[in-house]
Structure formats: C-alpha cells, structure tokens
Amino acid sequence: MSMMSLTFLTAFLPAVFLLYWAFRKQISVQNCILMIGSLVFYGWADWRTLMILIACIVITYVGGLLYESSGSQTVLKVSLVLNFLILIYFKYTNFILATIGMAPLEIILPAGVSFYVFQSSTYLFALLQGSGTVEHNPVNYALFVSFFPVIMSGPIQRSNTFLPRLKNQKHLSYEQFEKAILLFLWGVFLKLVIADRLALFTDPVFDAFEEYSGLMTLTGMVLYSFQIYADFSGYSLMAMAVAQLFGYPLDENFRQPYLALTIADFWRRWHISLTSWFRDYVYIPLGGSRQGRWRQYRNIMIVFLISGLWHGAAKRFIIWGALHALFQIIGHISLPLRKTVTDFLHINRKHIIWKSIQRLNVFVLTTFAWVFFRAYSVSAAIGIFRCLVHFSIVFDLASTGMKSWDKNIILIALPLLACVSVLKENGFDSSMILKRTWSRWIVYLILMISIVLYGMYGPGYSASNFIYEGF
C-alpha cells in the first residue's frame, strides 16, 4: 500500500488511527493494532512479500532470544548473516549472476527490503555492542521491524530508541496533530507538485539524452537534483507525520542538504538515518578516523561503495558511491591548501559569499554524481556528459513532457522550497505559523489547493512510485 493511495488515506489510516487511540490506555492492545496494521499495509500489494518480512522478523527476533539463553555472540552474528542474506538474495543475486555471465533468476524485489533489513539489524548490532536489551514480546518486536510509516522508505529506526517507546504510553496533543497534518501536506506538496512535475522534464532527458541539446541535458541534471530531494524528503516528511499521529516522534531524515558547505556536511544532512547507520555499523567498526589518514580514506571509500550498492544492484550506483567517497577524500586532503589560499587572499570563510560558493560547489558535485544515480546505465551516464561537451543552447520545452504551465508552477514552487529551506536553516520553526488559527488555516488551504489543483495525480499516473521505494 502506498501512503499516497486513496485506500490508505481514506480507509486504512483513519481506521487504524481511530482504533489505535480508542485503546489509548492499553499499550499492548495499541501495539497489537499497529503491528497487524503494519503487516496489512506491507502485504497489501503482494502478500508473498509479507513472508519475506516475517522471515526477517523471525530470524532477528529468535537470534536475540537464543543469544540471551546461550550468551553466545556467534548466534547474533549468524542471525545477522542470515538477515543480510535475505537482502543479498533478493537484491543482488541477479547482479552477481549477470557479473559472472549467468542467466538471471526470476526473483521479485520486495518493497522496502533494504530498509527493514537494516532496521532489524540495528537490534542485533545493539546486542552485539552490549548497548541493547533482548525484546521478549514478539508483537513489540514485529512492530519495530514492520512499523508501517517507515517500512517502505525509512527513516531507518534504531532498536535502542524505538523499542523502549513501545512500552510507554503515547500522547497526541492537538498541537502535535496539527503539526503532523502540516508536515504531511508539505510532504505531499513536495512529492506531487514538485518532484513528479520535474520528472516530466528529467525522465525524457535522462532516458533519451541523445535527442536533447547540451543546455537541456544540463537543465535536466540540475532539475533532477531537486526532484530526488523533493521526492525523498517529501516521503520522509509524510512518514514522520503519520508516525507522529500514532505518538511516535521520528528524527528528521533531511536537513536542508543543498545548503551543506562540504560533501561530508551534505551527508550529515541527506538521508540522515542511513548515513548514521553506516557510520555506526560500518565506518566506526572499520576504525573510522582513528587509525590514520589513509585508513580513514579507505573506510570512507568502503562505506560509500556499500552505500552505493545498497541503493541499487548496478555498477552505476557503485560509481555514484565512489564519487561521493572521492569528493570527501579530496576535500579532506585539500583542506589545508584551501585554508592557506583563503588566508592568503584574506577571504572571510564565514562570509555569505564564500559560503554560497561552497554551497554551489556541493550542489555541482552532487548534481554530477546524481547523473550516475539516475541514468539507466554507466554508458548512458557517460553519454549524458558527452552531451554537455558538445554543448548547444537549443531549448525546446515542448519536446519534454513539461508544458508551459508546468514550468510556471516549477518557477514558483522551487523558490518556495528554497525559501522554506533557508528559513529552516536559520531556525524557523513551523510551529510559529501554527500559533494563530487564521494563519494555520491559510497555510493548510494553500497547500491543499496547490496539491489538488497542481499535483501530478489522476488517470495514467501512479503516485506510489517514490524513487526510494525502489531500494
């Protein structure tokens, strides 16, 4: 089930919400309702994928129990391996077979498998590190792994923070409810009005780049950077809003990534839950930055290669990850030189112009790397760059799916997104606009009308295709 579907919005969410809060003093009943709801949510489109989710839950849950009874860490490691084997089998088997020249198998890729395997593994990692406790209640544990707002595209939750919440009484204040609605509407706006409208331009340009001029290709590259941000952050906001409706405040998954000053900073702001997962369970166990500069660079490279693979079983994702690792390593190596140069030129590194140059630099680098992420193959990505080399300024909007009206809407919506990002970066809190009834209503109505009128939905359109649901 998609969070954008009518079934979810008009039946599933209201039903689960009302049932859940009807038992607000019986935590175990609430958890049971949420757990059953989550399984229904996940198995709605294809019940067979539910078996894979249940396998993941059973492997990690039983692993924890066996570890408690035996005290052997080997049990946890075996559970971890088995858990990751689920991911490897469903996501990477055909990639491996193709790499060694064998015919692919007919394997369905369960939606969100990368997310729930990573989420459930945090439980085993926590036990291994001695920072977690064994969860005995199977309902609570199953809910932790399958919690429906986050199962498809995150944010990836940690067992150490999520499992204890399951035992606490939940509260939903009027203010939290309103904030959740605003978050949800803003998330839908980002997805339907911005991301899916930008796709009208980027899809044809990336999929048939040979037919487009250098200027259009360049525009497509820039727009894709905004598209993927609006798409994924939109989903994350919706997930946060829905979780909040059930009394689960989630940490933000995006923090104005295109206002980052360096690539490392970008990754502290982009898909924060995944980045922190890699930091805690890959980068730090590998030694992090504690064993010398070159080991640190090696660790960065490993983390980003795995991150690339996590996003997709294809060479282009590996290259995308490698590029980000290289950007960081080069940035790290060149830091003393850049400092010297700026000092020599008496450049104030805190000045807005210098910061803007740094932000532009980050945007250009990430946009460059997104080409490998979005292109359908490595050779296609190279073809796109060739279009830039043989640059021509022909710009024919009509040759894409984007029409003049779409362009006008984008010209309003993107600056709006930029304004909101800058305001948030400067500490603006959305609760400020929720203080007064009239301002709240105006914001709600503007968002609702914009979504209803300018959203990309209706016949021939599938709102369920969030970019990150593919992972």
Binding site: S5, L6, T7, Y174, W405, T437, W441, Y444, L445, M448, I449, V452, L453, Y454, G455, Y457, G458, P459
Partner: protein, 453 residues
C-alpha cells in the same frame, strides 16, 4: 478544559466544512462542460420540481435523433433527454435511477442502440462522461463500479483526479455552471445539427437473424424495464433511425424478443422511414445520427406516440417557461449552424425572425443597425422569403431581388445577413453568405453578432 475541547472541535469542524465547500466549488468549476453525458445529468438536477413529463434515455442517438423543440412546439410536452455518447444500458439504468430520485416522469423513452455493444467497459472517456455528471451518491458509486474496472473507481468517485488539470483551460463558461444560475434549467439535453456529412451511403438493410446482447447489456436492459414497471411508468422502447448496418439488425431483433417477455413493443424506426418521411439521406448528418431536420420528424412522430398517454400540454404555463427558453436557444443555435442561405432563410421564416441584409462591403452591422436603415435593407418576415429572394451572378456583381424588385446591386461577392429575434429583442445570428452560383449562397466565416454585445 472542556471549553477548550469544544472550541477545537468547532474549529476542526469549521475547517472541514470550508474544505468541503472549496472541494465542491473546485469540482463544479473544473468539470468538463460537455453536452455529452455530463451537462445532461448535471442540469437535470436544475429542472423545476415535477416538470419533466417525458424522460428520454440512451446514447447519442437519443440525444441527437429526437428533437425536443418539436415535441414542445407541436404538442407542449415537457421532455428531457438524459443521454451520453456510446452509453451502455448500465449507464442508462443508473441515469434512470438518478432521474427518478428528482422527477416523476409520466413516460420514459429508451433508445435501444446499446444492444449492439460488445464491450465489458466503454472507453475511458465515456466512463467519465457517463458518470461524472451525477451527484455523489450510492447510485453513482454503483454506476462507477459497473462502468469502469476497479483501478479507475477511486479516480471516478473522487472526480477531481479526472479533471484537476483543467485549471489551465478554464474560460468564462466554466464559471457559469453553479446551481444558483437559473439559466441552467433551460438546458433540456437535446441538441441541434445541420448538414449531411455522411461518408457512406445511408442504407437500410433488414434481417430476421437474432443475435443476443452481451449478458451485461441484457441484465441492465431487463433492469430498465423492471424499474419502469415497478414505478408504474409507461415505457417506449425505440431505435431511432440510423443507417442500419446488416449486422446490427439481429441485435434489435433480440431486443424485441426480450422486451416481448415484458409485453413491451420495440419501435425500430429504421423500419419505419417511410412513415417518418426519412427516405432520403438528406436527413442524416452521418451514418449514426440524424440532422435537426430528421430529428424534427422523429420528434413529431414521438410526440404523436406520447399523445396516447394523456400528457398535459404545458405551453403557456409559467412553471414550464424553461422549455420555451430551451426552444428559443435551440433555434438560435441551429440558425448559427446553417451554412446554406436557402435553409437559413427557411429557418428565419419558421422562427419569425426579422432580417437585415447588407452588401458585402458593410462590415459594421451592429445592434444599432435598425437606426440606420437608410444604408441597409430591412425585411420583415411577413411573406415567403425563400420564394421571393433571388440572387443572380452577373458580370458586374450580384443583384439581390426581393419580391420581383431589384433592391441591391453590388460588386461584392457576398452579403451580410443578420437575423433579429423580436421575442428577445436581439440579433441572434450574423452571417456572411457568398455566392457560389446563380442560386446558391453559402455561409462564410464571419464574426458573430453576439461578439458585439
């Protein structure tokens, strides 16, 4: 604390009401204003209570092939055609259910052309036009569920997904269709068409063969008859005249068989063209539809049929003034569709319009033309216009003869004609006719007089 909760509950309720109003307003504005399916249903709700005596249902054949103006002008019966193009029986049935919620017709007429359809679902566009005009109700939901496959139900029920992108093509007409606009009740579903643009010869072929309808069509055809019988409303089943393809007749024969089970006759008007006076193809606009001249003949025949049901002649009744308005608007529209001068003058004469004629060089005919009669010919409608007006092509231009007198001679190729409806005090058509030969003048594109208003 309790006061706070009540206050918040009111706020939420208020916001939901405001959202619902905006949603309704958006839907009403954005919906396609199509004469096909949507407006006939939407404007049916605007009809004065208890005024629709004759309800005509069916596909475009019902909408185009029966002239409601003739039924009103000749018999005074208040008929409304609730139609949608390519409408299957399941949509006709749900239209009928919807109509019976709001009106109590004395007779229901159903065109049975849908019996020839073989599809499980009509095309996507027809799924929209045959359901979207209905108000949201259980009947609409049921109609959608039988009209479209499941993956389209949500879009059709919510409606907005279908037409929300129309924001970029809205015009003044889109902001006219709100319930408080009483002019909407002047709409009666019928439409006018001029010309004979058929592409294959109009032929009526007959067959005794019988081919069953699809199960789904038959199920809803039976439901239509049963519903009429349950409500005690007389039913007239007809197949309006079209170029009868040999492969279609067996379906109509089957319809007759099914209807006979309910003691209902079926009037296949294709078999009655001699009675109707439709022997020549001049009355067909294409191979499936009659033009207005043909539809008038069918309307006249149907009026005669309806006379058997003891219906009231409502002409002159103030409650039925919207039918007068419909006829007036229909006549005006039809006049603007006519391309040949001879037919145009015949229509002007029929409707009792005044006439202004000016040589081709005159491009400034405006509503104040009557004050400047010195420059133009003004002809009243008394007398036989068609017989008296003659155009002659000559080397030195065109001569206009009226009642045997030469009234105009000009080197211009064409003439401007303006029709004036004294009943409304307005010019209702403004056309330039150009000489094609000595006796034939054809309409050329000209700015509509209404543009001046």
């Amino acid at each position: 604390m309790k006061r706070l909760y009540v206050k918040r509950a009111f706020r939420i309720f208020g916001f939901l009401i405001l959202s619902a109003v905006l949603w309704w307003f958006g839907c009403r504005t954005l919906i396609m204003k199509r004469d096909d399916g949507i407006l006939p249903m939407q404007n049916f709700y605007q009809q004065p209570e208890g005024t629709v005596d004759v309800l005509i249902l069916g596909s475009s054949h019902a909408g185009v092939n029966i002239d409601l103006e003739t039924i009103w002008r000749n018999y005074g019966y208040s008929a409304y055609t609730l139609w949608g193009s390519s409408q299957p029986f399941w949509n006709t049935y749900h239209f009928m259910v919807e109509a019976l919620k709001y009106q109590s017709p004395k007779v229901i007429v159903v065109d049975v052309y849908a019996s020839v359809y073989q599809h499980e679902y009509a095309d996507n566009e027809r799924q929209v036009t045959n359901t979207e005009g209905m108000r949201l109700s259980l009947n609409k939901v049921k109609a959608i569920m039988v009209t479209a496959p499941q993956d389209r139900w949500a879009d059709l029920i919510l409606s907005m997904p279908i037409y929300h992108k129309r924001y970029k093509e809205l015009d003044a007409e889109d902001f006219r269709h709100y319930p408080w606009n009483i002019e909407l009740s002047d709409f009666k579903g019928g439409s006018t068409r001029y010309g004979s643009n058929w592409t294959v010869p109009i032929e009526y072929s007959y067959s005794d063969a019988v081919t069953p309808m699809t199960e789904k069509e038959e199920e809803y055809f039976r439901k239509i008859i049963s519903l009429a019988h349950d409500r005690g409303i007389p039913l007239i089943l007809i197949k309006t005249p079209t170029s009868l393809q040999e492969e279609q007749q067996p379906y109509y024969n089957y319809v007759k068989q099914v209807a006979a089970e309910y003691d209902e006759p079926v009037y296949i008007l294709n078999e009655m063209t001699d009675i109707l006076g439709l022997e020549t193809p001049d009355f067909s606009i294409d191979n499936s539809h009659l033009n207005t001249q043909g539809a008038r003949k069918v309307g006249n025949w149907l009026g005669g049929m309806l006379a058997k049901y003891d219906l009231t002649d409502h002409r002159g009744d103030e409650r039925y003034v919207s039918w007068e308005h419909f006829c007036r608007n229909s006549s005006h529209t039809y006049l603007t569709q006519i391309t040949e001068l001879k037919d145009w003058l015949a229509e002007v004469e029929r409707d009792g319009y005044g006439l202004v004629i000016a040589p081709g060089a005159a491009t400034d005919i405006t509503p104040d033309v009557q004050d400047r009669l010195g420059q133009y010919v003004y002809v009243s409608t008394e007398g036989d216009l068609c017989g008296s007006l003659v155009t002659v092509s000559q080397n030195d231009g065109i001569v206009l003869w009226l009642n045997g007198d030469e009234v105009f001679r000009t080197r211009e190729k064409g003439w401007f004609f303006a029709a004036y409806d004294p009943a409304v005090g307005e010019f209702v058509d403004y056309a330039m006719f150009e000489s094609v030969n000595d006796s034939w003048m054809q309409r050329k594109e000209a700015p509509n007089l209404l543009d001046y208003e």
